[in-house]
C-alpha cells in the first residue's frame, strides 16, 4: 500500500544482492560441517520468517507451528509411499510438496476459523494443543505410521553433493519466505495486519477486514511451514512423529524471532544464526548446557531487549539522532 513504507533503496538492493552472491558461493568453499550449520540457519531462519507472517504483525503468536511442519512432512511421506518406487525422486518431491501444501491449506483454514477467534495467550495455547493433538494422532493411528515413520528416497543431482543440494533448496525456501514477507508488509494486507496488531477493535471499526486478513496471514504462514517440513524430512532421509512434531521447533521459531527482532525480515534470520551458532559451535561440546543457555538467552532478551537485537540497534540509533538534533539546536 502506498504511503506506508519508503521504497527499497538502491543500497538495500545492493546489500541484498551481495548477500545472495555470498550465499550462492558458500557451498563451494565451506566444509561439510559449516554447510550443515548454514543449512539449518537457512531452513529455520526461513521458518521463523514464515512464523512472522502472522506473529510478526499481530499478537497472534502461534506456539504450535510444528503442527504444520509435521502435517506437511506426513502428507508428503504418505503420498510418496502411495506413488511407489517407479516415480522419479524429484517428481515425488514436487508432488509431495504440492500435496503437503494442499493438505495444510485445508487444515489451516479449518483450524483457523475457531482458533483465530481467541486472543493472546488463549490463541497461543490453543495452537500448542493443536500441535500436540496432531503429534499424538499421527502416532496413534496406524495409517499415519507416525511411530515407525517413513524412509524417504535420496534426491540426487549430478555434480552436487547432498549437503550442497539441500543447502540450495533451503536457500530458495528462505528467499521465498523473505519475498512473501516483504511483499506482504508493503501491501494493504500488511498494513491492515499491523493495525490489527496494535488494536484489533479499532482496526475493525476503521473498516479493516480483520477476520479475512488474519485468516490469509495464518494460512500463508502455515503452508510455508509445511513446505519447510517436507524439505527438512527429505534432507534427513526419514521421518517419524518425533522428528517433526517437536514442541522445540515451535518454540525455537519464536525464540529466533525474539532474539533478532519480531516483525522484521532480517531479525528472525539473525536470531536463527546466533542461536544455532551459539548452541552448536560455541557450546558444541557442552550439550548439557544447551537448554540452560537457551533459557537464559530467552529470559534476557525478553527482559532487556523485547524488540530484539534489531530493535535495540534502532533504538540506539534513534537516541543518537535525537541527541545530535538537540545539540544542533542548542548550538
Amino acid at each position: 500500500m502506498r504511503g506506508f513504507h519508503k521504497p527499497i533503496s538502491s543500497r538495500q538492493w545492493g546489500l541484498s544482492a551481495l548477500l545472495l552472491v555470498g550465499a550462492v558461493a558458500l557451498p563451494f568453499v565451506a566444509s561439510p560441517f559449516e554447510l550443515r550449520l548454514a543449512q539449518q540457519i537457512l531452513l529455520f531462519g526461513g521458518l521463523a520468517v514464515a512464523w512472522n507472517l502472522l506473529g510478526g504483525f499481530t499478537t497472534y503468536w502461534s506456539f504450535g507451528h510444528a503442527a504444520f511442519f509435521g502435517l506437511g512432512a506426513f502428507a508428503a511421506g504418505l503420498l510418496g509411499q502411495q506413488l511407489g518406487p517407479e516415480v522419479p525422486v524429484a517428481l515425488r518431491l514436487v508432488l509431495g510438496l504440492l500435496f503437503a501444501m494442499a493438505v495444510t491449506l485445508a487444515a489451516a483454514v479449518a483450524v483457523a476459523l475457531p482458533v483465530l477467534r481467541l486472543r493472546g495467550i488463549y490463541f497461543a495455547i490453543a495452537m500448542l494443543a493443536f500441535a500436540q493433538i496432531l503429534g499424538e494422532v499421527s502416532k496413534t493411528f496406524d495409517v499415519f505410521q507416525g511411530a515407525i515413520g517413513f524412509t524417504l528416497p535420496i534426491l540426487k543431482v549430478p555434480g552436487l553433493a547432498k549437503v550442497q543440494l539441500f543447502y540450495f533448496l533451503f536457500l530458495v525456501f528462505l528467499m521465498v519466505c523473505i519475498g512473501l514477507f516483504v511483499v506482504m508488509r508493503r501491501s494493504r494486507l500488511g498494513v491492515g495486519l499491523t493495525c490489527i496488531g496494535q488494536d484489533e477493535d479499532t482496526a475493525a471499526m476503521l473498516g479493516v477486514p480483520t477476520e479475512r486478513y488474519k485468516l490469509t496471514a495464518f494460512v500463508i504462514s502455515a503452508v510455508l511451514t509445511a513446505v519447510g517440513g517436507v524439505l527438512y524430512s527429505y534432507s534427513l532421509g526419514f521421518m517419524t512423529a518425533d522428528t517433526v512434531f517437536r514442541i522445540d521447533i515451535s518454540l525455537n521459531l519464536i525464540l529466533y524471532s525474539m532474539v533478532g527482532g519480531i516483525g522484521t525480515v532480517a531479525g528472525p534470520i539473525i536470531g536463527a544464526a546466533i542461536m544455532i551458532l551459539l548452541t552448536q559451535v560455541v557450546l558444541g561440546d557442552l550439550l548439557d548446557l544447551h537448554m540452560l543457555v537457551t533459557g537464559a538467552v530467552l529470559v534476557a532478551m525478553v527482559t532487556l531487549a523485547p524488540k530484539g537485537l534489531i530493535g535495540l540497534v534502532r533504538d540506539m540509533r534513534r537516541r543518537r539522532e535525537e541527541t545530535t538534533v538537540e545539540e544542533g539546536a542548542a548550538s
Binding site: 495455547i125 490453543a126 548439557d288 533459557g295 537464559a296 525478553v302
Partner: protein
C-alpha cells in the same frame, strides 16, 4: 463385571483427578491473581518430586513427611522467580513476555535437574504404600489413596487460607483490582511474590504425590504444565473449587478414554476437550473466580 469395571475406572479417574487438581491449583492461582500463564509450573511440580527424592536418598526422609520441607523450599524459589524475573513482565502488562520468561525459566530449571539428577527415569516409591485394599471389588493401592487424601487436604487448606485469612483476602483483592488494592494499603508486590511462592509450593507438594504414584523424568514438565492449563480451562480460573472440578473432569476424561477407547488416546481426548473449551467457554465452567467473564 462391566459394572465393577466402570466403578474401578470411576475411582481411578477420581484419584487421578484429585492429583491433577492439586498439581493445577497453583497454576490457577497465578493465572487468577497475576494474570500470568506460568509455563514453568510443570518444572515446579517436577522439582517437588526431585527434592523429595534427594531428601529420601540423603537422609531417608519418607516422601510424605518431606511435604512441609518441599513446600517451604519451593515457596522461596517461586517467590524469588517472581521478584527477579517475572515482575518486570507483569509491570509492563505484557502477557506474552511473561509467557516467554516463564518458558525460559522452565528450560533453565529443567537443565539444572538433568545436570544434578541425570536424564533417567526416577521414582519415589515408599514400601508401606504398596499395600492394596479392596472395597466391593474396586482395588485401591496405598500410594493412590494417600495421594488423593493429601490432595484433598491441601486443597482444603488452600481454600481456608484464601477465604478466611488476611493474606488470602489481600490476594483476592489484588486479583480483582491490583491498583485499587494498592491504594487500600496492600503491598501488591509482596502479594504477587507470595502468590507465586504459594503456587510453587503447592506444585512441589503435588510433585511428591505424583512421584509416589508414577515414575518421572526431567522431560515431564510440559505434560504437567499443559495438564494444569487444561484443568484451569475446564474448571475455571483462580479458585481451588474450579481446580478441583477441572482436575476431576480431566481425570475422568483420561481414565475413561484409555479404558474404553484405547490406552493411547487420553491425550487426544484431553487436548480435544481443551480446544473445545477454549472456543466455547475459555474461562472454564466456573468462570474467573475474581473477574467477570470477559
Amino acid at each position: 463385571m462391566t459394572g465393577t469395571l466402570f466403578l474401578q475406572t470411576l475411582v481411578d479417574g477420581l484419584i487421578l483427578g484429585g492429583i491433577f487438581s492439586l498439581s493445577a491449583v497453583g497454576f490457577s492461582l497465578i493465572f487468577g491473581v497475576l494474570g500470568v500463564v506460568n509455563l514453568s509450573h510443570g518444572i515446579f511440580v517436577l522439582l517437588g518430586a526431585y527434592l523429595g527424592l534427594a531428601l529420601k536418598e540423603a537422609w531417608g526422609i519418607d516422601p510424605l513427611m518431606a511435604i512441609p520441607l518441599v513446600f517451604g523450599a519451593l515457596f522461596v524459589l517461586g517467590g524469588l522467580v517472581q521478584i527477579t524475573l517475572v515482575s518486570g513482565a507483569v509491570r509492563r502488562g505484557s502477557l506474552m513476555s511473561s509467557l516467554l520468561i516463564t518458558f525460559g525459566v522452565s528450560l533453565m530449571l529443567r537443565d539444572l535437574i538433568i545436570l544434578v539428577f541425570g536424564p533417567d527415569v526416577q521414582s519415589l516409591s515408599s514400601s508401606w504404600l504398596f499395600d492394596t485394599f479392596r472395597i466391593g471389588g474396586v482395588i485401591v493401592d496405598g500410594a493412590r489413596a494417600s495421594g488423593l487424601i493429601a490432595s484433598l487436604l491441601s486443597l482444603g487448606l488452600l481454600s481456608y487460607v484464601l477465604y478466611r485469612s488476611k493474606v488470602g483476602r489481600a490476594m483476592r483483592a489484588t486479583a480483582q483490582q491490583d491498583f485499587a488494592a494498592g491504594l487500600c494499603g496492600i503491598d501488591v508486590k509482596k502479594i504477587y511474590a507470595m502468590t507465586f511462592g504459594v503456587s510453587a509450593g503447592f506444585a512441589g507438594v503435588s510433585g511428591i504425590i505424583v512421584g509416589l504414584i508414577n515414575p518421572f523424568t526431567p522431560f515431564d514438565d510440559t505434560h504437567w504444565t499443559l495438564n494444569a492449563f487444561v484443568t484451569v480451562v475446564l474448571g475455571g480460573v483462580g479458585s481451588p473449587v474450579g481446580a478441583l472440578l477441572g482436575g476431576l473432569m480431566l481425570g475422568g476424561i483420561s481414565t475413561f478414554s484409555s479404558q474404553y477407547v484405547g490406552s493411547l488416546y487420553p491425550n487426544v481426548f484431553i487436548f480435544g476437550a481443551l480446544l473445545l473449551m477454549l472456543i466455547v467457554r475459555p474461562n472454564g465452567l466456573l468462570g474467573n473466580a475474581y473477574k467477570g467473564s470477559v
